[in-house]
Structures are given as C-alpha cells and as structure tokens.
Symmetry: C2
Subunit: 214 residues, 2 copies
C-alpha cells in the first residue's frame, strides 16, 4: 500500500505557506523569506549540497525517497489562470524539472500532457482530490505519491483525509499575508500523531503521521 506524502512545506508563525500573488518574476509570491534556509538541491539527497550536512537537510532529503508520482495545483505549474494560451509554457523548471516522475496538475482546463527526457511528465486533470489520487497512485506503480503543493492543494487533500504523512517546517517569521494553510482544518491533530523537533537554525520540524495507517 502506498503512502500519500507532503514534504518540505514551509509555514510561517502566522500560518502562511506561500505568497498571495504568483507572477513570472515571483514564483512563490512575496513569501521568499519562508524558504531562505532551503537549499533546493537537497531534494535529491545530501550528496548535492554544501557542507555542513545538518538535521534540517537530512529531513528535507526525504522528498524524493520512493516517490512514483506527484500531484500539484495549477499555480505551482505556472502563473497563468483560465484557458491555456498557446505560449509554449512548460513549467518553471526548464528542461530538467526535478520531479522525474509523472506529475498530475489539477486544473479546470485539461490539455495535452507534456513530457521531458528526464522522466518528468505533466498530466492536466480536472479531478477531485480522490480522483487525482487514484490516477497518481496507479501511475506511481507501487511507490508513494507526493502532494506537491501549493498550500491550497495540500489543504484540500488534508480536508479530504487523504494525507498519510506531512512534513512541516515551521519558520519563525511573521508574514502577515499570503496563502493560509490551516483554514477549515480545526482538530486536524486528532487524526495524526505528531513529532516535533527544533533545530539549530530556528526551524521547528513537525512530522504528522496519520493514525489510521498505524
């Protein structure tokens, strides 16, 4: 049985996990401070990062372990909304998207899939969280499925009780604005066991494991 996993979700002290406005210039909106301690190379393992190897990085490096597919919201794929334009957009990541698996992009405007040589393919589906998870689970071929964000997508999967594992990195900053992660999730902790540790960087990591799987 596969797990549905969320990794490296940075959340501010006031509960924001992305900026309000996503533009070509600001892929994560005005919330860049959330990720100031994140070296993105670590998602493929600690080999690729600079010294020192920290507890933060060890935890971030789980991102790619045993993952066979990702589900993401449309805003993670690009800044556009509405009907797709014939603009050649193939995502933020150039010729080497880091996913290396099938990726299911949730959108009300399905379109043809986009494939890359490194194993990444984007599939555009108008689907509920449950339907998307069935598609991704089949594509993952026995491996786990990552819910890749943004925060609204993670929140929707949490509300549908479809997340087995959630790694949050609580960042001690106050954003004041952005995309909220905790709306409509009161009592979420009842469904999970939660382990928390704080590290030398000031981050607090929370590992949420869904109880019904244990």
């Amino acid at each position: 049985m596969f797990r549905t996993r969320v990794h490296n979700l940075f959340v501010s002290s006031d509960g924001y996990a992305a900026g309000d406005r996503v533009t070509l210039e600001q892929p994560i909106g005005e919330a860049g401070a959330l990720f100031s301690k994140f070296d993105g190379r670590v998602i493929h393992g600690i080999r690729g990062i600079d010294d020192p190897v920290t507890v933060d990085q060890a935890l971030f490096s789980m991102w790619g372990q045993g993952i066979g597919a990702e589900i993401m919201g449309r805003r993670k794929f690009g800044p556009q909304s509405g009907e797709w334009l014939d603009d050649g957009w193939r995502g933020w990541w150039g010729d080497e998207p880091p996913f290396r698996t099938p990726v299911f992009v949730l959108t009300h405007f399905p379109r043809e899939a986009i494939e890359f040589a490194n194993g990444t393919s984007f599939h555009f589906v108008d689907a509920s969280p449950g339907e998307a998870l069935r598609l991704a689970g089949a594509a993952a071929d026995g491996l786990d499925v990552r819910i890749g964000g943004g925060p609204s997508t993670v929140s929707a999967f949490l509300q549908a009780d479809l997340v087995d594992f959630l790694h949050l990195a609580i960042t001690p900053i106050v954003l004041g604005t952005g995309v909220r992660i905790w709306d409509d999730l009161a009592g979420l902790e009842d469904r999970f066991s939660v382990e928390s540790i704080s590290t030398a960087s000031g981050l607090t990591h929370q590992l949420w494991n869904r109880k019904s799987r244990q």
Copy 2:
C-alpha cells in the same frame, strides 16, 4: 570533491559501539540492545519502513544517499580471523548485500574479489586508511565514500582525520563491555562542528561535520 561519511553509528552511554565477541550467531556481538530501535530497511529510504515515519528514520535514511563505495573492517564482513578458509563465506547478507556498490574490506589477508548481481562487490585490501580511501574514492566515481564500520575502523579513520561527516545515534543504555569508539580521540570535537538533537524515542543524534571542509 567527495565526502567521507559515517552513518547510523549507534553508541551506548558508556561509549561502546559493538559487542566484544562476534560469532556466526551474534554478528554484532552482545550489543544487540544498541540497535533495538533500528529498522534496517530504512537505509534505502523511508518508503520501505512501517508507519510512523519518525525523525529517527529520516536521519537513518541518509545512509545510501549519493554513496559510490564503502570501506569496512574485516569483522563486519565475517566472524573469521587469520587466513581465509575455503568455506564459501560470502558475507552475512545472502544473495542481496544491501551495499549495491564496491565495498573495500580491510584485511591483512587479501583474496579474490566477490561480486553480486545487485551491484555489490567485495574487494579485500591490506591497506592503511589513506590508501583504502584512495581506492574507494576512485571506485565511487564522483559519489561519496561511506566508512561502514565496525567501530574500530571508524575510529582509525577519525584518528587519521579522514572523516568529513559522522552521524552518531547515542543510545541511552549502559553496556559495560564491548568495542569502544572514543579511545585515542581526545579533543576530536575541535576538528568538527557538532549539531545535536534528541528525539521522542530517547535517542540523541549528533551530526559531526569536519570544519576544514566548510
């Protein structure tokens, strides 16, 4: 430039990291309690372990990341000593040794290499730590080299200042006997930056990063 890394080295409160006597029945001597919280499947990533996914397991899962070769002491390969007997011994691990890379076994009695279909090969070398590291570094082909133990081998590489990264799991038990890890290493901390965290299981993880690499 590659790192020389030690992972998942369990150490008792009184500084022992293995049992005294290694036999066919007790591959780790009388020190089994050191590993009572360790699910060995995690070395290939969190996908393979049971729920919940804990901080302990996230840290243990670094073991295989970006590793291209291992160096181990002879006692990790088998309980024999002296001249090799023609007994068909191919290590403790059956047909699927977990290493999946070249492994250099330090011994005063070199012999022919042993190869497995899963990418593991054992090479028996009579070499100093520095010589062994040159061989392993070349075999690792741009990836990192793991010093796989046992404790005497780790200690020898630490004394030679050839370890870049060391992950210790301090286990709150008192063994009273076994193979000591800290002998002849007084002041070791001067050469490293050390990050410590304790987890819900009672383990304390220490990540030692060699300063001269930073």
